[in-house]
Amino acid sequence: MVSCERAKVICNKKQYREARFLEKAQLMLHLLFCKACFKFSQKNDRLTQMIQRADLHVLSDVEKERMKQHLQNPGDT
């Protein structure tokens, strides 16, 4: 059986659809026996759902840098 450390890594990969079939099987088996990882896995899945629901947007570094400059010299546009 895989270790808790390994199970957590697989669980995180799964959130990004990057866990392979064998890995997912290893994780499932681990979760059957390990309550701590089972809880972690549930919370992790829930976080992914929340992030999807929130439909997040971010500004790029370039855009933020431009904003900062603009804030320092509000005069020139």
Binding site: N12, Y16, M50, A54, H57, V58, K68, H70, L71, P74
Partner: protein
């Protein structure tokens, strides 16, 4: 209550993403949303001397942004012809025979509340992300929000994949705790 002071030099790093999310959700256009956030910061800077210090900095900026969004819609509406509401009552074939009422929004619908709750959730998540250590926030944002591949992030930041997963793990664990504190307990 202690007076709150403004720190405009930290605004972009601390609030830009959170405000941007709020604006995108309301105007539905990233370029426009970015401009509104920019205007919000400028307006905040200009009216900083009037800041009474009895609201949190973020709340105050959100209030300004809210005005900017309203102003935007007001401006868009005064353009000739856009003020009238046009409605087509002509039924398309599949809706023929339906009651007109059936096509109006249901005021009891929970969907509208959902949308607002999701915006608030978005802001809560963004606030939690800004509390993460810088590299973690960076890796997490690239991976989760910008949805870059593991390989691209590793190349860009010159880290190994196992390094990346460690940071993703730490970021996610902190986020779970942060949201537990700031989202589940206050809702």
């Amino acid at each position: 209550m202690a007076k709150i002071e403004l720190h405009p030099d930290t605004w972009v790093d601390r609030y830009a993403d959170s405000l941007f999310n709020y604006a995108v959700a309301r105007v539905g256009d990233e370029d426009l949303a970015r401009d509104l956030v920019q205007e919000t910061f400028i307006a905040g800077l200009k009216s900083a001397p009037n800041f009474k210090g009895n609201a949190a900095e973020r709340t105050w900026l959100v209030a300004i942004l809210k005005r900017k969004v309203i102003d935007h819609y007001r401006k868009a509406n005064t353009e000739k012809g856009k003020a009238e509401v046009r409605m087509s009552f002509k039924a398309s074939t599949e809706q023929e025979g339906d009651w007109l009422e059936a096509r109006a929004a249901d005021p009891e619908s929970i969907r509208e509340n959902d949308r607002i709750e999701n915006e608030e959730l978005g802001m809560a998540i963004q606030q939690c992300i800004t509390r993460l250590p810088e590299t973690q926030a960076r890796v997490f944002t690239l991976k989760t929000i910008k949805q870059w591949s593991t390989e691209d992030i590793c190349n860009e930041l010159e880290i190994t994949p196992s390094n990346l997963w460690v940071m993703v793990h730490r970021a996610r664990t902190s986020l779970m705790e942060c949201l537990n504190e700031n989202w589940f307990k206050s809702n």
